[in-house]
């Protein structure tokens, strides 16, 4: 019998992340561990409370921020209808979960690895760092707008060297781009991993190419099924073929994908 990797689990806790999380729409959601096989860092799950009825219709994809023996932790930003509906969950409520989905980031214990996160793109790097067999190889550059206390940044900063950059005005963006370039230029021969909004990923993609750094980027395309069936989440690969972000990604080698 195949194992059904879609389960109804209970909400353990749901709280704004940090003292200013509520103001900025950043939340931490803890669900019972659905008991699926191993999670690779960078993988995600589809979440859908049955209480939604038919509206919203689709589940929402969230990166697995921590996979602990008793629970899965998600860190999310309120973006629209679905994520605001998620903030109304209460401990004990049911959420349908399927996953872990997608391919996850490369783990190369012998290679210096630079993590580049933009905003809520930090989420998968929490699990990445926690699960990495040689965290001494890791470092993080984090660009964000809401205060650091809204993100699980402290957890990471305790384990690996981190640099953060808060972008407050539009003039800060070129300065952040320059910072990404500086880190990339110092990272030749290493591995770079990025997750965040598309303009940020474009910056990373260009910098990786310029400095010849092997680089993976994680895309956040809109998902419907999460399992590769609907073809609603596709991205164009380097040959112009449409590939499913949910199953061929969400992590791609940066030269293999058109943003």
């Amino acid at each position: 019998m195949p194992l059904n990797r879609c389960h109804d689990v209970k909400v353990i806790a749901l709280n704004p992340h940090g003292p200013e999380g509520l103001e900025h729409g950043l939340w931490l959601l803890e669900l019972e561990n659905p008991g699926f096989p191993d999670v690779r860092p960078g993988q995600f799950a589809m979440l859908r409370p049955p209480s939604w009825g038919f509206d919203p219709l689709w589940a929402r994809p969230l990166s697995i921020c921590r996979a602990l023996p008793d629970r899965w932790v998600f860190n999310f930003l309120v973006a629209g209808r679905g994520t605001s509906a998620l903030t109304r969950l209460k401990p004990g409520d049911t959420v349908t979960v399927w996953g872990p989905l997608g391919n996850g980031f490369a783990v190369e214990p012998g290679t210096r690895t630079l993590m580049l996160a933009g905003g809520i793109g930090l989420a998968p790097f929490v699990e990445y760092t926690a699960a990495h067999p040689a965290p001494g190889q890791l470092s993080l550059l984090f660009g964000h707008r809401p205060p650091l206390s809204c993100y699980p940044y402290e957890d990471l900063a305790r384990l690996v060297p981190c640099e953060s950059f808060q972008d407050k005005t539009p003039e800060d963006i070129p300065r952040f781009v320059a910072l990404v370039e500086k880190h990339m230029s110092e990272h030749a021969g290493g591995l770079a991993l990025a997750c965040g909004p598309t303009p940020f990923l474009r910056t990373v993609q260009a910098a990786a190419k310029k400095f010849g750094v092997r680089c993976q980027i994680s895309l956040e395309n809109r998902m419907v099924c999460g399992v590769g069936a609907c073809l609603g989440c596709v991205a164009a690969d380097k040959d112009g073929h449409n590939v499913q972000t949910c199953t061929k990604g969400p992590v791609f080698w940066s030269g293999d994908i058109t943003l």
Binding site: N4, R48, L57, W58, W98, A229, L231, G232, H241, T247
Partner: protein, 304 residues
């Protein structure tokens, strides 16, 4: 309880099939249930050559439904037969190939390739896709064109049952049903999606790059029931109903208005084990309602 259904040469162990385009090539759902328990699997629409489909964005969420303008992205018939079909449990569960082509000859060519395959149980002819410029829904809106496509497929389909999938985007669904029945269709399936659109006022842009797309999901169930009711009364061949099915009760509604079997589409996106759960839930619901055989229900709608 006996849930078997016979559809002119296509035998199902239960009436729950999965709808084309919502269940991939089947294997995508293998981690979520036992494919062998399904009544049948209709795979993503196949064309002679691989197709990349429409530009992004090509899906939009709507109240109790969704719009899609995938544009029939698919791996092409050859890759399907070589790389996908052999891994499917086709001996235990009928695999139905859904066909799309630009003209009747090309439909015929596709049909002859698929007819030669032991693992393909039946052909479903998509004359109703709203998302492609050439052919597509046009075939499904003109009874004469629909009949010519049906004939072309039937001629080359050997002994495989031919199911023709109708569009709801027509004035007279019964006339379409009769036209394809007289052209030789063995089974009818309906409905495909309703043409719709969605607009983002903030950006003043349509939410789909293709501007219009096909509406599916619970929102379309009333239209689907009406179409199945009208079509099944107009023909003698069996009818497979779909459109918005999202519970076991919905399945019985379709049977009541005249369907022999059903296909589950968008609900597979609500949760990936949806169709498997439906197969499990159906007998319990029938028992609660005191129904032992779907024949008792079929077409027994009381209209006064």
């Amino acid at each position: 309880m006996d849930l078997r259904v016979k559809l002119s040469g296509l035998d199902l162990k239960n009436p729950v099939m999965t709808a084309s385009g919502t269940f991939g090539y089947g294997l995508e759902f293998a981690p979520y249930g036992d494919l062998r328990t399904l009544g049948g699997i209709v795979v993503k629409g196949l064309s002679l050559k691989p197709r990349e489909g429409n530009p992004m964005p090509r899906v939009a969420e709507t109240p109790s439904g969704m719009l899609n303008a995938i544009g029939l992205q698919n791996c092409g018939v050859e890759a399907f037969l070589k790389r996908r079909l052999p891994s499917l449990p086709w001996r235990e569960t009928p695999i139905v190939a859904n066909l799309y082509a630009c003209d009747p000859d090309e439909f015929g060519e596709l049909a002859s390739i698929l007819a030669a395959e032991e693992g393909v149980a039946a052909l479903e002819v998509n004359i109703s896709c709203p998302n492609v410029k050439a052919g597509g829904v046009l075939f499904g809106q003109d009874p004469a064109l629909a009949a010519s496509v049906t004939e072309a497929v039937k001629k080359r389909a050997g002994n495989k049952p031919v199911m023709v999938k109708l569009s709801p985007n027509v004035a007279d669904i019964a006339a379409m049903a009769k036209a394809v029945e007289s052209a030789g269709a063995d089974i009818l399936s309906l409905i495909n999606t309703l043409t719709g659109m969605s607009v983002d006022v903030r950006t003043r842009k349509p939410r789909l790059a293709n501007v219009v797309g096909g509406l599916s999901g619970p929102a379309i169930k009333p239209v689907a029931l009406r179409c199945v009711w009208q079509a099944s009364r107009a023909v003698k061949i069996p009818v497979v109903g779909m459109g918005g099915i999202a519970s076991a009760l919905d399945v019985l509604e379709f049977i009541l208005v005249g369907a022999h079997a059903v296909q589950v589409g968008t609900a597979n996106f609500i949760r990936p084990d949806f169709s498997f759960r439906l197969v499990e839930e159906l007998p319990a619901l029938m028992q609660r309602m005191g129904v032992t055989d779907l024949d008792e229900l079929r077409g027994s709608l009381k209209t006064g």
